[in-house]
């Protein structure tokens, strides 16, 4: 494939020409601001909107007292609804930050000011907040609870009993928030019975479905447009109430209404990753073969939306182990609904990979060798085949990093006040295929437009579909114009689960090939064409030209054919990769990190990181690398800086902005080295490409945590590893 020069959407993004949902220019625009509950549990006893209504420029103040009833009410957590609680319908409060009013005014500033004037009195109950504080309430959720898993393979207890070496440890991970750079935004424009919704969403299809359902209008009357997205990471994967609230208010007002969530509202309005407490036991023979492994994970869940959003994936998929148990419990808390957070299986994977590191030290064995001793060529027990190149990841990564044959003793590498350490961990993400359709139109100018009703979350979908279409058509990338993010296009998948490129790519390729066949058929049937009379199979295509493969100089351009034809040619393609793939659809990798820890302050900095990844065939080296380094930076955040703190008594998130919730900044991120095995997985799909967005976000945090242990000789079993925990681990060891 000839990759297009850079990202096709790059110039628009850099120059500001790219219009995101909230940037659309609409005449008569009005501005909505949400008022949110300041208590986490209880009831509204009185809501006084008089001052807000009287404030200058205010057009509407909607509360549970006057908001029209929605046409539908989900009874339990059922995607694509992101939550079952429908705000503004009842006085009950189920979580902090629940929407209790929406104010619409002629300017944003006036809407904000009026929102401040809404007075809400509550009858507050004491909320249940915090996972570790409420472990006594942990219970095993009913079968079928999303994300929960109770799995036994063989006899784990017997395996552990028979082991030569064993470890047992408890790991905890913090609440995390997605914090995409673009906050969620909705702009609703009604024209008669028809709604156009400019939305910052990972799925225009889901948005249309939910909004139509909640407003009681046929889906055909709802058009959702998402030309660009500034990330989502799961926070925009399903449809949250603010979207249909804005659509309903706009209908009532008969004016276009725009809402942009504030950064603080992003922490309560579109999900979060729950905290986890994980207990792992692992036992192995002296030569490192696992005999028994148990992984028990407890996560919090919103009471009303029972989900376990820290799914365990790698423990049962990556290694061979004759005795295995995975068990899941939940603790219900009075927080908003939890949500998939890139990558959902990260916390479970990191705990497993930290436990394996502990086992490697217990065995006195190289951690790469330990993983190789338990290598599984495919997922144990999985029915569908796969082709893994994980062994290659270990080898390539170790070589690039310069992984030592034998690790120096923990705490032994010191430069002045700095302790240096190395760590590695496995990466794994289970992706899933989806369905997609795509259409290609070749115009009379000989150029192609390729359309699919999916969206580019920022990962490079525009670029990749351009590249794939160009290849299938035999055109230059510059001759292909990609169109995404509109429900008028053939339906495409949600941008989640690392699925978009692999799924849409298959459909685009099929559409491109079909279009090329149609144009070929036109040429060979046209006496004016130099290709006249040739068999279709003899015709090749490249650089905007169709030609005889045996005599490449005999041919003509798409443009010449299409000009003569005088009408556009249309073709379509589809992909159905199974929704979702049953099992064994993983992407793999190995992460290696070097850290430098201050022996004085406990501050940890990552100085080097290598990630070797097996994602099947790499569709575009530049966008793939971008995804990988993005994932690695997420790993640094998860390992060292990112945690959401919630006040236990008030049930309020205290880190609800980017000054409180610390994502890594430039200075936290060293040069990141990414290696792709880049071999097609014939079992994945026609392209040989697997999901790749999320895999690099796994393993990196554990590699860093393992390196911190190596640097200091003290194990911190909580993520993020903040300086206080490093100091505490050292002190605990000193007093033992």
């Amino acid at each position: 494939m000839t990759p297009p020069p850079g990202r096709v959407d790059g110039p628009d993004k850099v120059t500001g020409a790219a219009r995101y949902a909230a940037d659309q220019r609409v005449p008569g625009l009005t501005h909505a601001v949400l008022v949110q509950s300041t208590i986490a549990r209880g009831r509204i006893t009185r809501i006084d909107t008089a001052a807000a209504e009287a404030a200058p420029g205010v057009l509407a103040v909607c509360t549970h007292e006057n908001m029209p009833r929605f046409a539908h009410r989900p009874t339990s957590w059922l995607p694509p609804h992101a939550q079952s609680t429908v705000p503004l319908q009842e006085p009950d409060i189920w979580y902090g930050g629940q929407h209790v009013a929406v104010v619409v005014a002629d300017t944003l500033e006036r809407a904000h000011e009026a929102a401040r004037l809404v007075r809400v009195d509550y009858d507050a109950e004491t909320p249940t907040i915090g996972l570790r504080e409420n472990l006594g309430r942990a219970y095993t959720p009913p079968d079928g609870t999303p994300g929960a898993l109770q799995l036994v393979r063989g006899d784990p207890e017997a395996g552990l009993a028979a082991a030569d070496a064993r470890i047992e440890a408890e790991y905890t991970t913090a609440v995390n928030h997605h914090n995409p750079i673009e906050p969620s935004a909705t702009l609703a424009v009604w024209e008669g019975e028809n709604l156009t919704l400019y939305e910052s969403t990972q799925s225009i299809t889901y948005t249309r479905e939910v909004v139509a359902e909640m407003l009681g209008v046929p889906a055909e009357r709802v058009r959702v447009v998402t030309p660009f997205l500034g990330g989502g990471f799961g926070s925009k994967g399903f449809v949250w109430p603010h979207t249909y609230i804005v659509a309903a208010v706009a209908r009532q007002l008969r004016r276009p209404v725009r809402l942009v969530l504030t950064r603080a509202q992003m922490s309560t309005s579109c999900g979060h990753r729950p905290a986890s407490v994980q207990r792992l036991r692992a036992g192995a023979t002296r030569d490192g073969r696992l005999t028994g492994l148990t992984h028990h994970i407890i996560s919090h869940s919103a009471t009303r939306d029972l989900i376990h959003f820290n799914p365990v994936a790698s423990t049962q998929a990556v290694y061979t182990c004759p005795g295995l148990r995975v068990s899941t419990q939940v603790v219900e808390v009075d927080m908003g609904t939890t949500m998939a957070t890139r990558p959902p299986s990260g916390p479970a994977n990191e705990a497993l990979e930290m436990a394996l590191d502990e086992l490697s030290w217990e065995l006195g064995m190289d951690p790469v060798a330990l993983r190789l001793a338990n290598y599984a060529a495919s997922e144990p027990g999985a029915t569908n085949p796969e082709t893994r190149f994980l062994r290659e990841c270990y080898e390539l990564g170790a070589e690039r990093f310069g992984w030592p044959r034998s690790r120096p003793e923990p705490g032994s590498m010191r430069e002045g006040e700095t302790l240096v350490g190395w760590g590695m961990a496995g990466s794994y993400h289970r992706w899933h295929g989806m369905r997609a359709q795509a259409a290609v139109e070749i115009g009379t100018d000989g150029r192609a437009i390729v359309r699919s009703g999916t969206q580019d979350i920022g990962t490079g979908t525009y670029t990749i579909m351009t590249e794939i279409a160009a290849e299938a058509l035999g055109m230059r990338p510059a001759s292909v114009r990609p169109r995404l993010g509109d429900t008028r296009y053939p339906p495409g998948p949600t941008s989640s689960g690392s699925t978009t490129a692999a799924t849409v790519g298959v459909a685009v390729r099929e559409a491109g090939r079909a279009a090329r066949e149609k144009v070929t058929a036109l040429a060979v049937a046209d006496p004016r064409s130099p290709l006249y009379g040739a068999a279709a199979g003899e015709v090749g295509a490249a650089d905007d030209r169709l030609f005889l493969t045996a005599r490449p100089r005999r041919g003509e351009t798409y443009r010449q054919i299409m000009e003569r034809h005088g009408a556009p040619v249309h073709a379509s393609g589809s992909a159905d990769l199974g929704t979702p793939a049953p099992s064994g659809a993983g992407s793999y990798g190995a992460a290696f990190a070097e850290v430098r820890v201050s022996a004085v302050t406990g501050e940890v900095r990552v100085s080097r990181m290598v990630s070797a990844l097996d994602v099947g065939r790499v569709l575009n080296a530049a966008t793939a690398r971008s995804q990988a380094i993005g994932g690695m930076i997420w790993g640094i955040g998860m390992a060292l800086t990112e945690h959401t703190l919630v006040d236990r008594r008030l049930g309020r998130i205290v880190t609800a902005n980017l000054a409180g919730y610390l994502v890594p900044v430039e200075a936290d991120v060293p040069d990141l080295d990414v290696i792709f095995v880049d071999r097609p997985d014939p079992h994945a799909n026609a392209l040989g490409a697997r999901g790749m967005g999320e895999v690099a976000g796994t393993g990196t945090a554990a590699a860093i945590a393992n390196a911190v242990y190596h640097a200091t000789g003290h194990r911190v079993r909580h993520l993020p590893i903040t300086p206080d925990l490093v100091l505490a681990a050292g002190e605990a060891a000193a007093t033992e």
Binding site: T38, T601, T641, R648, R652, V654, V665, D668, L727
Partner: protein, 323 residues
């Protein structure tokens, strides 16, 4: 954001006169703090007086004092070669603060007047005795990893966030307003039972400069900031040290702590522990210990006690020439 009036002042006298018309008036310098406070509903001045045209800029090196204009930008002061050379603690503290973009816009006066980053203070929906006297302090008994271990009261355990103010405390600076001079050690108030009173400044009083005794420019000094990420983050603990050395013996020391108290915390006991001594490991340890004398940690911030001990010893050792 509430509607407000806007005025521009061209001299200190002008600024003070204009601000005197409205008791809720606020001066606007770089705006990196004031505008955020206004957007978040934490400040609602009826009148904003832009002082950027007031001639209170630049840095002058006199025989007695080094004078820094209140409207000098953080970046400008930090990169001034004589500051880097003679007042390393000042340059280091400024560069450890905020980001390059913020430092280009933010002024010295505005920096001294920034409000606490206590997350309860910064969320208008929460109780906070500093913001709404008598409403309570949820940080006590709440999420207080960030909060004060020294100088707090049972009404407030906020932390003063400025790095600059810590360095200025170690440099024995004086805050100069349009009509008086206030030693930095008297500029900030401890919360006691009136946490809403944070500085000695009267309403409408304009800072025009800070002055540093020129003698301090001969001292060795340094700053270290410990934080949760490598940059663009406030201190968990910071330490500023200025040492007047006689060979290896400390003639005078000024030691100030950031991130641990509602104001830049002058660690007098630690200064006493090193005065007249050589910076041996025992003396360093004693100084670290003395620095946390009287510390009253809460549920989540006890780590700061040990962190102060270590960081004080470390900075003294570095500045003292041990390393």
């Amino acid at each position: 954001m509430r509607p407000f009036a806007y005025a521009q002042a061209t001299s200190a006298a002008d600024a003070v006169a204009v601000a005197g018309r409205d008791p809720s008036a606020a001066f606007l310098a770089g705006g990196t703090e004031l505008l955020n406070l206004m957007r978040d509903g934490l400040a609602a001045p009826g009148l904003v007086v832009d002082v950027n045209a007031v001639p209170a800029k630049g840095i002058s090196f006199g025989e007695e004092v080094i004078r820094i204009g209140a409207l000098a930008r953080m970046a400008e002061v930090a990169r001034e070669p004589r500051v880097r050379d003679r007042l390393p603690v000042l340059s280091q503290a400024l560069l450890a603060g905020a980001s390059a973009q913020v430092r280009n816009a933010a002024s010295v006066g505005g920096n001294l007047m920034q409000r606490t980053r206590c997350w309860y203070f910064r969320d208008a929906a929460m109780p906070c005795n500093t913001r709404v006297p008598g409403s309570g302090c949820p940080a006590i008994g709440g999420e207080n990893r960030w909060h004060a271990i020294l100088g707090g009261s049972d009404a407030c355990i906020k932390v003063h966030p400025s790095d600059l103010a810590v360095a200025l405390t170690a440099l024995d600076a004086t805050v100069v307003t349009h009509d008086r001079r206030i030693p930095i050690t008297e500029f900030y108030r401890l919360p006691g039972s009136t946490p809403h009173v944070e500085t000695a400044l009267r309403p409408g009083e304009l800072i025009v400069a800070v002055e540093i005794p020129a003698a301090g420019a001969g001292f060795r000094s340094g700053y270290r900031k410990v934080r949760d990420r490598a940059s663009f983050e406030f201190a968990l603990v910071s330490v500023a040290v200025s040492l007047d050395l006689d060979g290896g013996t400390v003639r005078q020391a000024r030691i100030a702590l950031g991130g641990v108290a509602p104001r830049p915390w002058r660690a007098l006991a630690a200064e006493n522990a090193v005065r007249g001594r050589r910076l041996t490991p025992d003396v360093l340890r004693a100084a670290g210990e003395a620095a946390v004398e009287g510390a009253a940690p809460r549920e989540h911030n006890a780590f700061k006690v040990e962190l102060v001990r270590r960081t004080v010893a470390d900075v003294l050792e570095r500045v003292g020439g041990g390393r």
